[in-house]
Point group: C2
Chain length 285, copies 2
């Protein structure tokens, strides 16, 4: 029997020793020299980044929006890009879908089935109806948005109901409901207090932490909080690697930046005493 | 200068006299006799439904999930289906996207730009960062999820913060922030109390009301609550029209069912005294 998505993530973490997640968000207006602002340009950039910068990454996270912008041609580019992700490198599709019933089942058919994602990001606003079809569609991981990294994240996520903020309620709900390790949480590095509080509130689930680098979050704090008792966490870096150079040396620059980030995150995890788990504990046997 | 999406919706409402929204959710396992459970089958079904059942509808709502399930081939079918929607019939893409910054901008490029939607559905969980890029991308309408129609809708939407449930907070936030009439709310007919309370709390925004028929909501109550002071509301019917017959007469059956629904909803609006606006007031000048 082949390994599950969670086992693949654990193996990869053991192999690379770092929670670095390579974020692929190819914007046509931000391509390096020589690439056209077209679907061909973003595909070339995405595949080139994965080729150059993924050897030291624990996972790759592809943001569906940047492909979908080009409609069916963009989705075809997404299919090729996903197929190009090396075996053994877990591939998360950052789709933030949130629908119910047969609609959720059809999104799961797209992302988990058709695109064979190892993990997806999902919105909690509609409750478990929006999550369970993705768990039923295979053995892939699900990262539920708890506290996002954007300026207006607190608009609803920070509202306090029954004495606790909504993002904490979401985290506890996910942690109590799904204890298999397959359900993690998205918690932005731009909210360091919430990040620390949430890690304390729910020791089990892995965190997928966006928002370091360009968005201003502290990468080391993110690395210390990312690992859960049930699964290894991920710290996403997109622009810090993808935009390391805007020149023709972008692949080499991305590889070098990935190396720096991977090492830095790895050291932050190893030297962490605050983290509820040590890297060795979550690396799998 | 051509009419805006809101003007097109008002004109259409005046023309058909009913808030009926024709929901297109083609599931490959629920196609009528003679259609294969493939992307070709769902496209044929979707286009056939629009052709047969849209003449009496105020809008058509296409659920992106059912096309996306087939990847790029599904998106190509979605592009053709959308292009096939008659001029003058507002087309809402039910996508429930919820992302931020350039990601939201790219989803808007896909739905508002590439697919030329007159309206989209969006999740509020990330705050205004997830909404504004869609308003900036054109003149299209945005329907923000407030109270959805599924069983676990209340999990977070009904939590009470500062004395009001989250779904009401979402509704007030949208109504206070965007007063142009371009931002409406999704409020499920399966929660009749919330539907009535929300209509009272925010008289301005139009409601897009799913959940009547198969999901059990009361169509007449939905019709009475749907219209806002700023824009005409919509009551979505999907299965009640699409699955009117599973035989080869599905197009004729769908046309007949749409006629019954359109008339019923039209009468409910006309005879409503509880509604804060009368059909005549929101039909445009």
């Amino acid at each position: 029997m082949s390994a599950s998505a969670l086992e693949r993530l654990r193996s990869r973490r053991t192999a690379v020793g770092s929670p670095l997640c390579l974020g692929i968000d190819p914007h046509p207006d931000r391509l390096p020299e020589g690439l056209p602002p077209t679907v061909h340009g973003i595909e070339t950039f995405a595949r080139g980044l994965i080729e150059a910068a993924s050897p030291l990454a624990c996972a790759v996270k592809i943001n569906v929006a940047f492909f979908e912008a080009f409609g069916s041609a963009g989705w075809a580019a997404l299919e090729r890009t996903r197929a190009d992700v090396p075996r053994g490198l877990p591939c998360i599709l950052d789709a933030k879908r949130g629908d119910i019933e047969t609609s959720a089942e059809r999104y799961a058919a797209a992302l988990i089935g058709h695109l064979d994602a190892d993990g997806v990001t999902l919105s909690p606003y509609l409750g478990e109806d929006a999550i369970e079809p993705f768990l039923a569609a295979g053995d892939g991981l699900v990262y539920v948005l708890a506290r996002t990294s954007n300026p207006s994240a607190g608009r609803f996520q920070s509202l306090v109901a029954d004495g606790e903020p909504i993002h904490e309620r979401v985290a506890r709900w996910a942690a109590e409901r799904w204890t298999s390790g397959r359900v993690g949480l998205v918690v932005g590095a731009t909210a360091p207090e919430e990040l620390a509080t949430l890690r304390e509130a729910v020791p089990g689930p892995a965190f997928l932490v966006p928002g370091v680098g360009a968005q201003g979050g502290d990468a080391e704090a993110a690395a210390r909080a990312a690992d859960g008792a049930w699964a290894p966490g991920l710290v996403n870096v997109s622009r810090g690697i993808a935009l390391a150079s805007s020149g023709r040396d972008w692949q080499a620059a991305a590889a070098a930046a990935a190396s720096v980030h991977s090492t830095g995150l790895s050291e932050a995890v190893l030297h962490s005493t605050a983290s509820p788990v040590r890297a060795a504990d979550i690396g799998g046997s």
